[in-house]
């Protein structure tokens, strides 16, 4: 683009004329950007700073108390059964959720890529839960996965009766801190609902990715004698890797801050098997009036998301510049 500009003879002539305009135009540009920028600085960065300050304070009752207590609230949380359980649940939920969303999304994208009839019908069907609220999803799946109703009525014929989100078993558990560390079975139920809702996202991403791969690439591979399976495995999948990274990052930030789905579907659950930091933060802050503890949970949530997001943002911005 720059080269074109310099080679444009008209441009040189106009340069002096433009300069005058530049200043007013630049003022306008500033006026366009400034409101948004100031709002973001205050509402995002300023507020995060304030939350950080609250998390170091003693405000754990109805009346605000901003006396400085250092890391007391954080130390309390890391020794707290409920918060330890939250960290475990979030970890396993995130792995389960991302893994399933990718496998489902990719498989469906490849199946839909086979030039089948009714492709758009299927595609729209798989996308539509994305338009729903997590609250609606939670309400419906709570009923579907209720151990005494829902899908268990079907499963009765097969003689299995999973306890879904009421199951307090921790798979492959071992004692770690206050809690038993392992896969909380109840989280699988939440995962199913979340996967139902979010598969559409990875599917859309992969469909766009597959469309972006030119037919010539496949043809070339075919000429080289690759089987269809090899083409997918060796040619197409590697090309989809950046998309997979995006899907992982986006899904990770959704799962790390998840609140509404769990709040409306299961709540914290028996023995906190379905509790997550988002729910704990909400309940402890707005129900128990432990504002400083709530702020500390929020800051930990922010940091866990930032670990993923910041490098990703920086890299994707750099890639573009």
């Amino acid at each position: 683009m720059e080269l074109v500009k310099q080679n444009n003879p008209q441009k040189v002539v106009r340069a002096t004329k433009r300069k005058k305009k530049l200043s007013t135009d630049h003022m306008m540009a500033l006026a366009f950007l400034l409101p948004s920028f100031i709002l973001i600085v205050i509402f995002v960065y300023g507020f995060i700073g304030w939350t950080g300050y609250v998390s170091l304070s003693n405000w754990n009752s109805l009346v605000p108390d901003f006396s400085f207590v250092g890391l007391k609230n954080y130390l309390y949380l890391f020794g707290d059964f409920r918060f330890q359980a939250d960290l475990r649940n979030t970890l396993f939920f995130t792995i389960l959720f991302i893994g399933l969303v990718i496998i489902f999304g990719l498989t469906l994208a490849i199946l839909l890529d086979q030039k089948i009839k009714g492709e758009s019908v299927f595609r729209n069907l798989f996308f539509f839960p994305m338009a729903l609220s997590f609250v609606v999803t939670g309400v419906v799946w709570q009923w579907l996965l209720n151990p005494s109703t829902g899908v268990n009525l079907f499963l009765k014929t097969f003689g299995i009766q999973p306890k879904w989100y009421t199951d307090t078993t921790i798979l492959a558990g071992f004692k770690w801190g206050q809690i038993e560390f392992g896969l909380p079975v109840a989280m699988i139920a939440v995962g199913i609902a979340a996967v139902w809702q979010m598969t559409g996202f990875s599917l859309a991403m992969y469909i766009a990715g597959l469309r972006g791969i030119p037919d010539e690439t496949r043809e070339a591979a075919r000429m080289d004698g690759a089987t269809e399976l090899q083409i997918y495995w060796k040619v197409i999948l590697p090309q989809l890797r950046p998309i997979t990274v995006s899907v992982i990052i986006i899904m990770a930030h959704i799962s790390l801050k998840i609140f509404d789905l769990i709040y409306s579907m299961t709540g914290p659950g028996a023995n906190f098997v379905t509790d997550v930091p988002g729910v704990y933060m909400f309940e402890t802050t707005f129900r128990g009036n432990y504002y400083a503890n709530g702020a500390a949970i929020a800051i930990i949530m922010l940091l866990s998301v930032a670990i993923f997001m910041v490098p990703y943002l920086i890299r994707s911005r750099k890639g573009e510049a």
């Binding site: 106009r14 305009k21 135009d25 630049h26 306008m28 540009a29 366009f32 409101p35 948004s36 973001i40 509402f43 995002v44 960065y45 300023g46 507020f47 995060i48 304030w50 939350t51 489902f104 469906l108 490849i110 890529d113 086979q114 299927f122 069907l125 798989f126 996308f127 539509f128 839960p129 994305m130 338009a131 609220s133 609250v135 609606v136 309400v139 009923w143 829902g150 139902w196 859309a204 766009a208 496949r218 269809e228 399976l229 995006s246 899907v247 986006i250 509404d260 709040y263 409306s264 930091p277 988002g278 707005f286 709530g294 702020a295 929020a298 922010l302 998301v305 910041v310 990703y312 911005r317």
Partner: protein, 273 residues
């Protein structure tokens, strides 16, 4: 093109199986909402209703109607305002780049990934100070502000694709900053507005955390009211299911009518676009 190892019928079987999984909740949602309360027992949950009973809809509607209106009052202005702000800052960040504008953009983008819990306590204090706590106006402000990053991103990615030459020739014709925006960028970005509007509409409509913490009772948007339907009384499943369907209807309609734009917005959310 065709996976020879998997035959076509098998593909259809797989797709239909997955479709059933995707439709199952909707099936239950609809048939349960059409049943009278007596018929909602464990054993016939999957059965079709013996008579079509719309009473759960009228009950859910009478309970949710004020909140549905709240949602509309919230979503429409918030969507328009955040789209406007996004278009403005997207325009500057794509066509009037300056030193540091990329960093600034990245800083703004970060705002869309933060867990909102991390700003919630100060936000509530702030809204109280300015007298907007527990008002729809306050909720509009919140959604406009936190909608800026995604709207900016979408518009910026859209505007980057408008060739610089068009702007330059307009400038030669004497158009200034505003003129370019009004006569070139806006007309060319109508579909961009649609994408952003649909995205914001869906997101704000479906949002729960801000709604449940910033508003109370008669100011609450529909999602909170829906969650509260399972409140302190017996869970009337038919009413709750009817309510869920009612609450989901506006976004579903938007999706059905304008699904293409919705998916575009979805993809734009992945930063690179």
């Amino acid at each position: 093109m065709v996976l020879r190892s998997i035959s076509k019928p098998l593909i259809y079987v797989l797709l239909i199986a997955v479709s059933i999984f995707f439709l199952m909740p909707i099936y239950v949602l609809i048939i349960t909402s059409l049943k009278p309360l007596e018929e909602i027992t464990l054993s016939n949950m999957w059965k079709l209703p013996s008579v079509l009973d719309m009473s759960s809809y009228s009950e859910a509607f009478s309970k949710l109607a004020p909140n549905l209106m709240n949602s509309f009052y919230l979503v429409i202005p918030a969507t328009i305002l955040s789209a406007m702000l996004g278009a403005m800052s997207g325009y500057v960040l794509s066509k009037w780049k300056f030193k540091g504008s990329e960093i600034l953009f990245t800083l703004m983008l970060f705002g869309m990934f933060i867990p909102y819990q991390s700003i919630l306590i100060p936000l509530i204090q702030f809204l109280r100070e300015v007298g907007l706590y527990n008002t729809i106006l306050g909720l509009i402000l919140v959604h406009v502000v936190y909608g800026i990053p995604i709207a900016t991103l979408m518009f910026r990615n859209f505007y980057v694709n408008i060739p610089d030459e068009m702007i330059e020739s307009a400038q030669i014709d004497g158009a200034n900053f505003l003129g370019v925006f009004r006569h070139i960028m806006i007309p060319l970005s109508i579909s961009g507005f649609v994408v952003v509007a649909i995205w914001q509409f869906t997101n704000i409509w479906n949002e729960f955390l801000f709604a449940v913490t910033i508003t109370t009772s008669d100011q609450q948007p529909v999602m909170v009211a829906l969650q509260n339907l399972s409140g302190s009384q017996i869970v009337q499943w038919n009413v709750q299911m009817a309510g869920a369907l009612l609450a989901a209807l506006p976004t579903l309609i938007v999706y059905i009518l304008l699904g293409k734009y919705f998916v575009k917005g979805l993809l734009a959310g992945s930063v690179k676009g």
